[in-house]
């Protein structure tokens, strides 16, 4: 499933990237295949979302999160 489809509080592992679009940027922010993430916050209007990755909180938009395939534990 896609990162954008996770529900608040769910944890998952990053599997792959849909497109190369923004891949390097995601890597630099610590979002690598194999990393565990938790969807920690959803903005009041449903978008953007904030994930806990490697112990810090990263906020991103749903449209960008669609690019990441994840697998729920």
């Amino acid at each position: 499933m896609k990162l954008s489809e996770l529900k608040k509080g769910q944890s998952a592992e990053i599997i792959s990237f849909e497109k190369d679009y923004l891949k390097l940027k995601f890597y630099e922010m610590g979002c690598l295949p194999g990393e565990k993430i938790t969807l920690e916050l959803v903005a009041p209007l449903g978008d953007p979302i904030a994930i806990n990755i490697g112990g810090y909180l990263l906020s991103l938009r749903k449209q960008d999160a669609q690019n990441i395939n994840v697998q729920i534990d």
């Binding site: 190369d20 923004l22 630099e28 922010m29 690598l32 209007l45 810090y56 909180l57 906020s59 938009r61």
Partner: protein, 688 residues
């Protein structure tokens, strides 16, 4: 050769939000210079540090970056001192500051900078937060593994700041650590196309990346991008290996931050909290600042009266009292408010709350053609549109950035604050709302809200006309909450106030003097005529000497250069309730809006002998036609609305030109804002 250089350049380099700037503040105090990197609006701060041994170095604070792979043109320029071996302020050594509570991602930059061959040392900042999060770092082991000096600090608790100074001056730096083995490209290039012979392999690789056009154009970009991704993976793998040996972690993110976040990002509480914070800020700007402002005004009253009594009447007295003193008080009286406003903005930024504001407002801002990152420039616009417009460079999306630039000047800046405060304080009503809050605070908030709403509406309108051409992601780190650091905030406020006094203050002062001249002098013949006429009336005993003096002053003012100026625009502003004297102020405000206050003081001061504060002068002014106070409630409100919405600022126009690289946008902005302001003022004048 490096050692023979008289003074070493040492750089602080690190991710955004790693506490780097606070460390810089702690190390340097108020002895710092801020300058823009050439051709950009990216700020780099530097300071000369002298050790007790007498040795000096230059310390630089590079803007926060996540890696040396530049994502935008501006990031590329920020990385320039590291990537360009020919840079004039090339670092001699680099201190990498990392957030100890988020080592993995932060170490990525460390490995890159070390691979570039710089002598480095590593500072694990925010170690207190890491400890609270249950992260234990084996520093000695890390030091051995990396072969560089490692120091744990906390900018928040001042832990090990002295050791950091010693590290800068004594313990030194090493360049042993290598992480990534880049392909050796040197053999592919000859000195004629790209001379790489002087550099190490990783430096050479960066130079090749940068010169993509020399080595083969667009086809290579894709390969380079992939190569960079692979490099980042390799680095993370090495970092993982390192952290297994040196780091034990017991839990995730701080529970404390989690709890706050559940309130701050709550669908109802979150927005209520944000509005309440704004409300508290604006109430405080008014009430807290009132005490020092009264003191300053009283001080100037005293000095003014004193000089007025001691000096013989005439040109010199008028110059000192109505020119110099009026100008000075116009600058100094607003320092308390500027400090208080910047104090709150610094607290919001420092505590980590500002990023949550962007988070909860991103989706809303998108509706107005902007994004969450636009919130900070817009809020900074409450201080001054100029730095705010410059800070829009953090918005990667071109359209969002342009719209943010176009609508930011609608936000009431601190230069409008004196205008509002003056006008609100002379509005002839006295009411308390709910018995405790005075109407003044509410009016001030209304003016700010007017600016905010107008800017958002303008955003919608503009987003219909300006198309979105590029799509870059919206990423934002949301730092853990922390208690704001007093020293950091004091330094921020002090620096901002200093900038205001020097940059805006000298203009206000100069304009006050020019205005004094324009209002005190006019065409010689006309002045002579007036004098003769009044003298004749006195001789004929038609009027008393006192009346003659007043009549002389009023007529001279009307026929002064400034008077002609104001009269020529009067037909245009009469529908808004303004007379030609307000017209003079509107024109002079172009240099800086707060000049309004100084011009009011000078223009309305003309008829009086004593130094009286501006408020009293304006309140006692009578409209010659209606015989009622000139500054009625409707005129004050109309004038405030005009100031809120018109683009009366030469500096903003020039900075928009600089940032958009065309004249089209600033001219359009000026025309649209003027029309909006005129219409809104007209409506307000006719309602109240």
């Amino acid at each position: 050769m490096r050692d023979s250089k008289p003074i070493q350049n040492i750089y602080l380099v690190g991710n955004p939000n790693c506490g780097k700037s606070t460390l810089f503040n702690l190390l340097t105090g108020l002895q710092q210079k801020t300058s823009n990197l050439p051709g950009t609006t990216i700020e780099i701060r530097k300071s000369k540090l002298t050790h007790k041994s007498g040795k000096s170095i230059r310390l630089f604070d590079l803007p926060g970056i996540y890696s040396i792979n530049p994502a935008s043109k501006d990031e590329q320029i920020a990385c320039e001192p590291l990537l360009n071996p020919e840079h004039k302020d090339r670092p001699d050594s680099v201190i990498i500051i990392v957030d100890a509570s988020n080592l993995k991602r932060n170490l990525l930059l460390f490995t890159q900078v070390s691979d570039l061959g710089f002598p480095v040392s590593l500072v694990l900042n925010m170690s207190d937060i890491a400890a609270k999060k249950g992260i234990a770092i084996d520093c000695d082991r890390l030091e051995r593994e990396l072969g560089v000096k490692v120091l744990e600090t906390s900018a928040r608790t001042n832990q090990n700041i002295d050791q950091l100074k010693n590290l800068i001056f004594e313990t030194g730096f090493t360049s042993h650590f290598r992480c990534f083995t880049p392909p050796s490209l040197k053999s592919f290039f000859t000195a004629s196309d790209l001379d790489l012979s002087k550099y190490n392999d990783y430096q050479a690789l960066q130079i090749v990346y940068k010169n993509a056009d020399v080595v083969g154009g667009k086809a290579h970009q894709k390969i380079f991008e992939e190569q960079r991704s692979v490099e980042v993976m390799v680095r993370y793998k090495a970092i993982d290996g390192l952290l297994i040996k040196c780091l034990t972690q017991s839990s995730g993110r701080k529970q404390f931050s989690k709890k706050i976040d559940s309130v701050v990002t709550h669908p109802i509480l979150g927005y209520l909290l944000f509005l309440s914070i704004l409300f508290i800020i604006f109430q405080s700007v008014f009430t807290l600042a009132a005490y020092p402002m009264d003191l300053i005004e009283q001080g100037f009253d005293w000095v003014g009266n004193f000089s007025s009594n001691k000096m013989p009447n005439g040109i010199m007295e008028s110059l000192i009292v109505n020119g110099v003193l009026a100008g000075l008080s116009g600058v100094i009286v607003f320092i308390p408010q500027i400090i208080i406003l910047f104090m709150f903005l610094a607290i919001l930024e420092d505590s980590g709350y500002m990023s949550r504001v962007s988070f909860i407002l991103d989706k809303i801002m998108r509706k107005f053609g902007m994004n969450g990152r636009s919130v900070l420039p817009l809020i900074s616009g409450a201080a001054c549109a100029i730095p705010a417009i410059m800070s829009t460079r953090t918005i990667e999306n071109k359209r969002d950035r342009l719209i943010t630039i176009m609508v930011t000047p609608f936000i009431s800046c601190s230069a409008r604050l004196p205008v509002y405060i003056l006008l609100i304080s002379i509005i002839p009503i006295q009411t308390k709302i709910f018995g405790i809050f005075n109407h003044q605070g509410f009016l001030l908030m209304a003016m700010y809200l007017l600016g905010v709403f107008t800017s958002l509406i303008a955003g919608i309108v503009l987003s219909r006309f300006i198309k979105n051409t590029d799509s870059t992601g919206f990423f934002m780190e949301m730092p853990n909450y922390q208690w704001p650091r007093t020293k950091n905030i004091v330094i921020t406020c002090f620096t901002k106030a200093k900038t205001f006094v020097w940059d805006a203050g000298k203009i206000i002062f100069l304009v006050s003097l020019v205005l004094w001249y324009l209002t005190s002098f006019g065409p010689k013949e006309k002045f002579k005529e007036i004098e003769e006429e009044v003298a004749y009336e006195v001789r004929m005993n038609k009027i008393s000497t006192q009346e003659a003096n007043l009549s002389l002053a009023l007529q001279k003012q009307e026929h002064s250069y400034a008077g002609y100026f104001g009269k020529s625009i009067e037909p245009l502003i009469k529908p808004l309730g303004f007379d030609w004297r307000i017209g003079i102020s509107l024109i002079t405000s172009f240099i800086a809006r707060e000049v309004f206050v100084g011009s009011m003081a000078t223009i309305y001061g003309a008829g009086q002998d004593d130094f009286v504060n501006i408020r009293k002068k304006m309140q006692s002014e009578i409209n010659p036609v209606t015989k009622k106070p000139l500054f009625s409630t409707s005129v004050c409100l109309s004038l405030m609305v005009f100031y809120a919405l018109a683009l009366q600022c030469v500096s903003t126009i020039s900075v928009v030109h600089k940032e958009t690289k065309t004249w089209k946008w600033p001219i359009l902005q000026f025309v649209l804002m003027s029309i909006t302001a005129w219409l809104a003022s007209w409506v307000v004048f006719n309602i109240f």
